[in-house]
Assembly symmetry: C2
Homo-oligomer: 222 residues x 2
């Protein structure tokens, strides 16, 4: 059975890669920096997006695509801030794909956007295999998940541009060795940038904002 | 594309269900109570299994099947306790299936086991669709993930026998409303049993041990 699944997966992935390239060209034409945000459920993807909107919105025009198996609770939070947002419900699917994102792009004012966040479905495995047309991949590791996650989910840590280690406010109550974590992650991915942060208290977030704003400024505008 | 994936998925699921029934018959013949443990990455599946082994091993003969995308760190922890354990590495797959479990059963001394834990891959979505031949489904929700997870991952909460709400030791530092959580989960699943626990401090674990031991005693021995 596993052979069958892999064969189908390869076909699907090839079609997805083609569509992702189309999405990327389209977003490039409008000069939209696109960031694919991935993590386990509840690691803080929406909290990161909301904090970043509040901090950067005066300088950067932001929009959001929200991906979830079900519900629109996250999109409602973004919408409450007056930011353009499209909710994708995968209806059981465990990741976003480039076809879903293409449809969402039709509903966004691309001419008026500098930065597009795509919040993927909460999952440390499958989202990694499906590129969406993004410029940057950002993953969030939540401290309460433990420092052994890079051993167990190596592909996502290996393929990301940035790892945010969130919920540092809980570190005093956890057995999380940040140096051990950093060593394993940079072993998998020598070029990765790691930001320890707390979306709740704001600790460490200035470095993330600076990194992101620099990436937005580096994107060629039409 | 989504139609293609769904069609294949149905074929795969049909074959999986057949194999799961075979696994179930085999485990029934030996009177092994089989528990499929599912959660997000880092919610505490291995901690729960290790605590339960330490507590029940004098009364119940336990074995474990460990499922992970990569690594054998969890199996090594179980092995260190002198408990029979088989590691399954899915090599990128985001869930266990009944075929993988069948192979693992070949390597376990089924005659000498009362309780078999199957630790699924850390994922709140796909493991739910693949039955393995289990008697009971147990899912762990980790308090730091937030109390909104049942809205976003409803299928797994709807299909489980038991939800353990783990890491209650962190509750003073979190905005987690246990009553709101309980209301949503019982709305999805009126028959579910919910145990707030801390695998770290042991708080609430006595009720879980009692529930589990009762299920083991209720399983018909050959």
């Amino acid at each position: 059975m596993s052979v069958k699944v892999i064969t189908v997966g390869e076909k699907v992935l090839g079609a997805n890669d083609d569509k992702a390239r189309e999405n990327k060209s389209r977003l490039d034409r409008y000069g939209v920096l696109t960031v694919n945000i991935m993590s386990s459920p509840g690691a803080g993807k929406t909290s990161l997006i909301l904090s970043t909107i509040k901090n950067l919105r005066k300088k950067v025009r932001i929009a959001v695509i929200e991906g979830d198996v079900a519900s629109s609770v996250d999109a409602e939070k973004v919408n409450a801030l007056g930011i353009p947002v499209v909710q994708i419900n995968t209806g059981g699917g465990c990741h976003l794909d480039a076809f879903m994102v293409e449809k969402a792009l039709d509903d966004l004012p691309l001419k008026e956007i500098d930065l597009l966040f795509v919040e993927n479905v909460g999952n440390l495995i499958c989202p990694n295999a499906f590129t969406l047309g993004e410029d940057r991949r950002v993953m969030i590791a939540s401290m309460p998940e433990g420092d052994d996650k890079p051993y167990k989910y190596p592909a996502m840590f290996a393929d990301t541009d940035t790892v945010l280690v969130n919920k540092t406010d809980l570190q005093p109550y956890l057995d999380f060795n940040i140096e051990a974590f950093r060593k394993v992650v940079t072993g998998l991915n020598p070029d990765v940038t790691i930001f320890p942060v707390s979306c709740k208290t704001g600790a460490g977030m200035a470095a993330w904002y600076a990194w992101l704003e620099s990436a937005v400024r580096g994107k060629k505008k039409p």
